[in-house]
Each structure stands twice: as structure tokens, then as C-alpha cells.
Amino acid sequence: MQTLTQRLANPTRFMELSARLLPWISAAAAVLLAYGLYLAFFASPADYQQGETVRIMYIHVPCAWLAMMVYALIALSSFGLLVFRHPLADVSAKAAAPLGAAFTFLALLTGSLWGKPMWGTYWVWDARLTSVLILFFLYLGLIALRSALEDESAASKLTAILALVGVTILPIIKFSVDWWNTLHQPSTDFTSTVDPSMRLPLLVMAVAFTLLFFAMHLKAMRNEILRRRVKALRTQAVAGRDRLAAQGAE
């Protein structure tokens, strides 16, 4: 019996399935996002210490969560490519990289905008902020390395190796607030560190952003599959013309 990953190994089957799933995931993300924004602005209180700026948390935490989750997904896809040679693993890794870079950028930016009124500074070179900045550079490195190499197979393997080496940054980010002194607050624990009145909006926004990412990732994967089909057809067309030219010359 085939596993789900084996069944999805066929790009044509993936295109059929993703075409069916994409509208539902997008709609669910949009509805949850609207509900989350309502909760964030109208149905949650200001913090007793941070005041209204706590509302930045409802976008900062989901972006930071996605920054790490997307990298873990890229590392998993890279493992799938290098070990199992799964045909969609490289498509998944390539499609996720720009999205991960965008969410990491947003986590840094919103964190910085939250930091100024709370800490008195936009930036400090402490462990949490610096390790997330390194994650952002890792994303840019993955994108740059892939576009620097013309041979797609070599580019896939090299970016997969870089992604797997870079995965060591994830535990450093996660535990940086425990291992070193930092201005950043400890990791968000939904059950104890967030007041119940703020837990629901944060949870709804986190799920909404996660669904939003999966919708964009599916769309980006579909685009990448189409791009590879176009490239294959162009190569096929050129090879056909060369064959005809050779036959004509004989």
C-alpha cells in the first residue's frame, strides 16, 4: 500500500489534489484572519504593563513562528530530496524559501517596532534578535545559491545541503532566551505565559497565518511545477528542431 507521500510523488496527482485544496485553505485562512483581527483590535484588552502595543504581538508571534516552521519544512524537504529523492521535495523547498524569508523579515520588523516603545531601542545585538537575523540571512543564502547555479540538479542538492547545515540555527533561536541574558521575553507558552484574554486572539492569528502560509506554499509549488514543465517543453522543442535540422543536412 502506498503512503501519502508516495501517492503525492506524482506531480500530476499533486496538481489535481492541490487545485481542490487551495480554495478551501485560502478561504479558511481569510475567515480566521478576519476573526483574529477583530479579536486583536476589538475583543482583547490592553496589557497592564505594555498598554496598547501588546497588539503587535498578534502579528509578531505568528510571523516568528512561521519563520522557524518554514525553515523546518525546508530542512525536511531537503532531507526528502537527498535521502528519498522525492520528486516534489525540491519543489517544496524552493517554493518555501521566499515565503520564509518574508515572514522572517516581518518578524524582525514587527519585533523592532514593538521593541522601540517597550525597550527604548529598535535593535540590540542580543542572542534572540541576532540568531533570527542569521536565519533571515540563511534564507537569502538559500535563494541566492539556487539562482547562482544554472544546473538545476546541482542547485537542488547544494541548497538542500546548506538548508540541512543551517537547521542548527532553530534550537539556537528557540533556546537563546534561556541560554543567554536577553532583552527579549521568554518563549511564548500558550498555556502559562499569555493571559487567557489574549490567548484566543493569539491562537486564532497563529492558525490563520499558518493556513495562509500553506495556501501560498501550495500555490508556489504549483507555479514551480508549471515552470519546470515549461522548461522541459522548451528543451524538448529545441531538441526536436535540432533533430530535424540534422536530418535535413544528411
Binding site: 500530476t12 496538481m15 489535481e16 487545485a19 483590535f41 476589538f42 490592553a46 498598554g51 496598547e52 502595543t53 497588539r55 503587535i56 502579528i59 509578531h60 510571523c63 521566499p98 515565503l99 518574508a102 523579515f105 516581518l106 520588523l109 514587527t110 517596532l113 514593538w114 522601540k116 516603545p117 495562509l212 501560498m216 500555490k219 508556489a220 504549483r222 507555479n223 508549471l226 515552470r227 514543465r229 515549461v230 522541459a232 517543453l233 522548451r234 524538448q236 522543442a237 526536436g240
Partner: protein, 57 residues
Amino acid sequence: MDLGPHAAFIWISYAAVTVTVTGLILWLIADGRKQAADLEALERQGVKRRSSSPGVR
């Protein structure tokens, strides 16, 4: 809605997320349309995938 003395920080944060995410979505839609149009143009020229099945994009 009164967001207090730091309202600008809150609005800029939400605006940055909105602009970036909207930009990503528009880019993905435009890229998808371009790839589909390129594929259709090639197929119209008679270049067919060996494993192509009708109606699958």
C-alpha cells in the same frame, strides 16, 4: 479606536504585514498566470508533454 501614544508603531507593524503578504499573494498569482500562459503557448505550437493528461494544469 484610540491606540494610545504608541499608535504609530502598531499601525506601521500591521501595514507592513498587510503590504508584504498582499505583495506575495499578487506575485504568486501573476507568476502562476505567466507559467500557465507559457505552457499553453507551447502546447498550441504542438509541443506536448509525454505524460500530459487533458485538463491538468
